[in-house]
């Protein structure tokens, strides 16, 4: 038990730089979680949604002609 406590303390004291890096790493992870997915950002932009609708229409026309 004391060994574990010492190890823990050592990490916190000696690893000041490491802790900062870890904090930055954790923060980056949190930022990544907050970021929108590609689908979210597409659908949050009205014009991108409309353009995507027209792109789907072109694909639809190609599918119709591909089937026949």
């Amino acid at each position: 038990m004391p060994v574990i406590a010492d190890d823990h303390r050592q990490t916190r004291i000696c690893g000041a730089k490491l802790s900062e890096r870890m904090l930055r790493f954790a923060a980056r992870g949190r930022e990544r979680d907050k970021k929108e997915s590609g689908m979210d950002s597409l659908l949050n932009n009205l014009w991108a949604t409309i353009i995507a609708g027209f792109v789907l229409t072109v694909i639809e026309i190609l599918v119709i002609h591909a089937i026949h």
Partner: protein, 169 residues
């Protein structure tokens, strides 16, 4: 003579399908083109008026427009004898029209499902019709918004399939 042979029921169902469809997609585009982008610009003290008075009324016509569009559409396809061909996307039929209207029908059905089973349950949480915690309300607002945007995106190829099946192919 031609007047006597005029197919009144088919015409009635087709007209019902079109009118309901305009009611549905008109409200969908109102939400996405007008209400949602304007909400952040509305002063906080006025927003409850939109959520409590305009939104429930608009959602009523929106969801029943979707229901009647689907109902009239299926009946119309059946009366015209192409329901099964359209569901099969015209594969093996050698007819562009069935593929076009079939894609439109499938997209419309997905949109109808979104309205009744994703948008409405979540909007009911936002409007306070069903109880929810503040976190659940925020999540519901986002889910309903995304489903609504997906429907806006799908409405464009859906309308192409519906209209061009009768006028182009």
């Amino acid at each position: 003579m031609e007047f006597v042979a005029f197919d009144w029921w088919t015409q009635f169902v087709r007209w019902g399908h079109i009118i309901s469809g305009i009611m549905w997609i008109g409200h969908l585009w109102y939400f996405n083109f007008t209400q949602t982008p304007t909400m952040p610009k509305i002063p906080a003290e006025l927003r409850p008026a939109v959520v409590r008075f305009i939104l429930p009324e608009a959602l009523f016509w929106f969801r029943w427009g979707a229901m009647f569009t689907l109902g009239f559409g299926l009946v119309l396809a059946y009366m015209n004898g192409y329901l099964v061909n359209a569901i099969k996307l015209g594969i093996g039929d050698g007819n562009h029209k069935f593929t076009a209207i079939g894609i439109g029908m499938w997209l419309g059905t997905i949109m109808w499902f979104n309205v009744w089973f994703i948008i409405m349950p979540n909007q009911n949480k936002v409007m306070g019709v069903t109880s929810a915690t503040p976190d659940e309300i925020n999540a519901a607002r986002r889910t309903a918004g995304l489903a609504s945007r997906i429907n806006t995106m799908l409405s464009i190829p859906m309308l192409y399939g519906m209209v061009f099946a009768g006028h182009y192919y």
